[in-house]
Symmetry: C2
Subunit: 109 residues, 2 copies
DNA sequence: TTGACATATTCCTATATGGGAATGTAATGT
DNA sequence: ACATTACATTCCCATATAGGAATATGTCAA
């Protein structure tokens, strides 16, 4: 079996750095494809293809404005990633605490 | 160009569902490879290969215990993912607020 | 040393890319 | 109708899988 499709879920979709850049760029407000092209310096077809992937997994939404297509982030689709990583939060906080205690010459737990 | 290597960064490494399962399983405490195999019901070589990827991107660490290899999560490596997703937090909170206000019959912003 | 146990690696293959180039399609202005 | 603008899609290809099977490596026990 090959690797899972980039369109299989949000985790696979955001594995690609350019798609993360696009999402970050869209975090401010909705933007047309051409604006993304100028902003990130990618080829237009490349941007369109990345947007397609993001659209398929629900990470972005679109609306037409004349000849332009305005894309915006759908933040709800990012939440599952946030929630999953959050399950490890207590671990790194604990780790940081240990480092701190060690630095202060105390006994670690 | 093909897709980036799974070992290129944590984002690519956790795109694979089984690797996320392994990390979650290791979140409690360190475990031997055989325990992961039993727990997740995967083939041993498969688990070893996933662990190699996780190890290369720093998501797990190992120590030997006799013939067993005990793997544990390195939570620090998950933080960047958490931080990146967190930059969208205000967006979904805002979105939820709008939904709530609409449900209460108020004007949306 | 030999055998058993625990894990890692190698070989194989079908599959899904991401970028570049070229082309298709939709909407607007005249 | 036609040219132009703005995107989307298709074709091609080098590359990196993930799983299965087989094998190699490392450690302990007798």
């Amino acid at each position: 079996m090959a690797r899972a499709a980039t369109t299989s879920d949000a985790f696979n979709a955001v594995a690609e750095p350019r798609r993360r850049e696009i999402l970050s760029f869209l975090a401010g407000r909705e933007h047309a494809v051409g604006e993304i092209v100028l902003s990130l310096g990618l080829e237009q077809p490349s941007v369109s293809k990345h947007l397609r992937v993001l659209l398929e997994v629900g990470l972005v939404e679109v609306r037409r404005d004349g000849r332009r297509m305005l894309y915006r982030v759908n933040p709800e689709a990012i939440r599952p990633l946030h929630e999953w990583t959050r399950t490890f939060e207590r671990l790194w906080k604990h780790q940081l605490l240990q480092v701190k205690e060690r630095a202060e010459g105390k006994r670690s737990v």
